[in-house]
Symmetry: C2
Subunit: 244 residues, 2 copies
């Protein structure tokens, strides 16, 4: 019998980089960075370059003047940027065949902290079923990195981690969960009938509501919308190449 580890971390700050060696990593930031990345790629964006700081984004823009600048600080669009961090802004007419330089408070930093893994996948509720199938087939040790919020766990990322675990265990039983993996699965199972309501009343949900971004919460609560599996490799994110 194969023994595989499936670890979940509640924040990217809790992951020791070396722990990721030899495993596949999954980075989750449901509200809203990883949803936005998945949406942009689903709508034809060519690649996304996640960077941890605004200054680095501007430097990258100099080297890639045709690229769009996207992201947020404090949930708001960054001054001078083309796009904020709402997935609804990343429509086909805006992003098709475009490169995007992208910086957010938690998600793009979580991605950059996970680069030691053998492969880094980008996840949200929107692609969790397709991603789980891909991961269960890999038979690799798995590390799910929830972006969290400024160093604290967030409910929406924990729910998505739990959903991915439920889907993986349905396909492959030989995964051994760490404590937060079991906590994530329990939290998801307890709330699966009311995901939108749970996310909507969470602190990050409430914050977006106050900024009149309720539509984003609704969109980011939808499950299994796409089979897109964005892969972060060598500094940029693109679709996992598949023969259909």
């Amino acid at each position: 019998m194969i023994n595989l580890d499936l670890k979940v971390f509640p924040t990217w700050q809790m992951v020791e980089k070396n722990e990721l060696r030899g495993s596949y990593a999954v980075v989750i930031d449901v509200l809203r960075a990883t949803n936005t990345i998945i949406t942009a790629l689903a709508n034809g964006a060519k690649e996304i370059i996640p960077v941890p700081e605004i200054e680095i984004a501007w430097e990258m823009k100099k080297e890639n003047p045709s690229y769009l600048l996207g992201g947020e600080r404090g949930a708001q669009k960054i001054s001078g940027f083309d796009l904020g961090n709402s997935p609804l802004e990343y429509s086909p007419e805006v992003v098709f065949n475009r490169g995007i330089i992208f910086t957010t408070s938690n998600g793009s930093r979580a991605l950059n902290s996970s680069s030691k893994a053998d492969m880094v996948c980008v996840a949200s509720l929107a692609n969790s079923k397709a991603l789980a199938k891909f991961l269960a087939n890999s038979l690799k040790n798995l590390t799910i990195v929830c972006a969290g919020t400024l160093g604290n766990p967030s409910l929406e990322d924990t729910l998505a981690a739990g959903k991915i675990i439920e889907e993986i265990l349905a396909l492959e039983k030989n995964y051994h969960l760490n404590d937060f993996g079991y906590i994530s699965l329990s939290t998801y199972l307890q709330n699966k009938a009311n995901i939108f309501q749970a996310i909507s009343s969470s602190p990050n949900g409430q914050k977006l509501k106050k900024l009149n971004m309720s539509e984003d919460i609704e969109y980011c609560s939808l499950m299994d919308q796409t089979e897109i599996i964005p892969i972060f490799k060598d500094g940029n994110i693109s679709n996992y190449p598949r023969i259909l």
Copy 2:
């Protein structure tokens, strides 16, 4: 309407000390430190002095030669100590009217990190109902500090936090949960019918089983066994004084 915060932290390392000012703190280490403290006091121990390091324990012993030395490293009794970290060792014939100097890997450190709070209570599943009543009546902001395991969340502490939250909300609705508070409550509700089974199959449960300490898991999974509320104040832990 009063607005009160009820925050839960998955590990003591995640708490910023200043955050505790003006609130009541609750420290949880189900396997096994806080259970052991509650048991010792229930069995008549006079006071418990939690210290973060073994060397400090030996120094305290010099000043208090009549005190017992208790605690663990790697779940095992410390060389030269009178007692380990199993609550079953702290029987009335051993601890009645004795002082105990106590050091553990997670629990006693969590206690020492919480000392900025207005009051620090010691909790486990064994006293959660009584504690919740005391806390709900206080109408203070509350911070529940799970000890966790060497910087990572642990299932058993999260379950106990969830149980305390359920009991508090049944008495006083005006508490606003942080994300990990909601996660703890969900995890508890999903597992409340099988607490022993969940703890027993968790990584810390498995570890104790391998060390032939299954009885400890069974004992520490019991809920609502006592009304003892240990209070950590000025460096030592004793019962909250109550007129019966």
